[in-house]
């Protein structure tokens, strides 16, 4: 299975990459929404995208809308991983087509359980 991690923090990308590798994913990285779209066009669709919200050039929310509109990368599970924790933000993301939402800081168990909810990991 393949995944992309989209976050402007290298440290967070590093944590997420390792967690996903443990779950059996091959992982591609990007520092913002635009880079992520370029990466997907270059290397092909992935099963899962973990996406931060606030990033320069193209935010995670913009990436989400763009990707769902294009449908070229469907089906791709998209999970926001972000400090934005207001209910209205969570709703906006889900309405725009995000499948799941994780608030920072998160632990390995949180990620694992969310992947289980997405059907991308077993107990």
């Amino acid at each position: 299975m393949r995944a992309i991690v989209v976050d402007d923090s290298r440290a967070t990308r590093s944590i997420l990459k390792r967690a996903l590798a443990r779950e059996g994913f091959e992982v591609v990285e990007a520092g913002n929404g635009r880079e992520a779209i370029d990466a997907l066009e270059a290397t092909g669709a992935v099963d899962l995208a973990l996406v931060d919200w606030n990033m320069p050039v193209m935010t995670g929310y913009e990436f989400l809308n763009e990707v769902r509109a294009r449908r070229a990368f469907d089906p791709m599970a998209i999970m926001m991983v972000t400090t934005e924790s207001e209910a209205s933000q969570v709703k906006r993301a889900l309405d725009a087509g995000a499948n799941e939402y994780v608030m920072k800081p998160f632990t390995d168990e949180v990620l694992h359980e969310k992947l289980m909810l997405l059907g991308l990991a077993r107990a």
Partner: protein, 148 residues
């Protein structure tokens, strides 16, 4: 209601325990001032001000080591800047939840500074910790807020 010292402590403890799996012990300002890293995030909106965290070089390296999964002596300057910035970012996100909405966070700013001198006054909340013996201080400074 803006966070008091105990709420600021809770957020710091929560972020460091979860993200860095490190134990924090509440403490007082150390007797010396030492060089360290400072991470700063501006918060603007209904409530405006900034959150800064300052920690010793050693603690910053250890934190970066944990996040990048390398030994502390193998982290680069860039790694430390990124790590301190992300910790400040995550802390600010959690503090923002306790402030009157709406408000936005700036991208984090990380620079070489010092840790040790107290800067608490009416407009600055300051909480001190040690983490495995190394000093850490978190400050929340208010510039403008709605009348209560």
């Amino acid at each position: 209601m803006p966070p008091d010292d105990s709420a600021l402590r809770d957020v710091t403890d929560f972020v460091w325990t979860t993200f860095l799996r490190a134990d924090l012990t509440p403490s007082i300002p150390p007797s010396n001032v030492e060089p360290g890293y400072v991470g700063r995030v501006r918060i603007s909106g209904t409530w405006s001000g900034e959150l800064t965290l300052a920690c010793s070089d050693t603690l910053a390296r250890r934190a970066a080591g944990t996040l990048f999964d390398v030994p502390p002596d193998a982290v680069t300057g860039d790694d430390v800047n990124d790590a301190v910035g992300e910790i400040a970012n995550v802390m600010s996100g959690n503090v923002k939840a306790l402030l009157p909405a709406p408000s936005r966070l700036s991208l984090p700013d990380v620079y070489a500074g010092t840790v040790g001198a107290t800067r608490a006054d009416d407009r600055v909340r300051e909480v001190w910790f040690t983490c495995e013996g190394e000093p850490l201080v978190v400050r929340l400074a208010v510039e403008s807020q709605p009348a209560s």
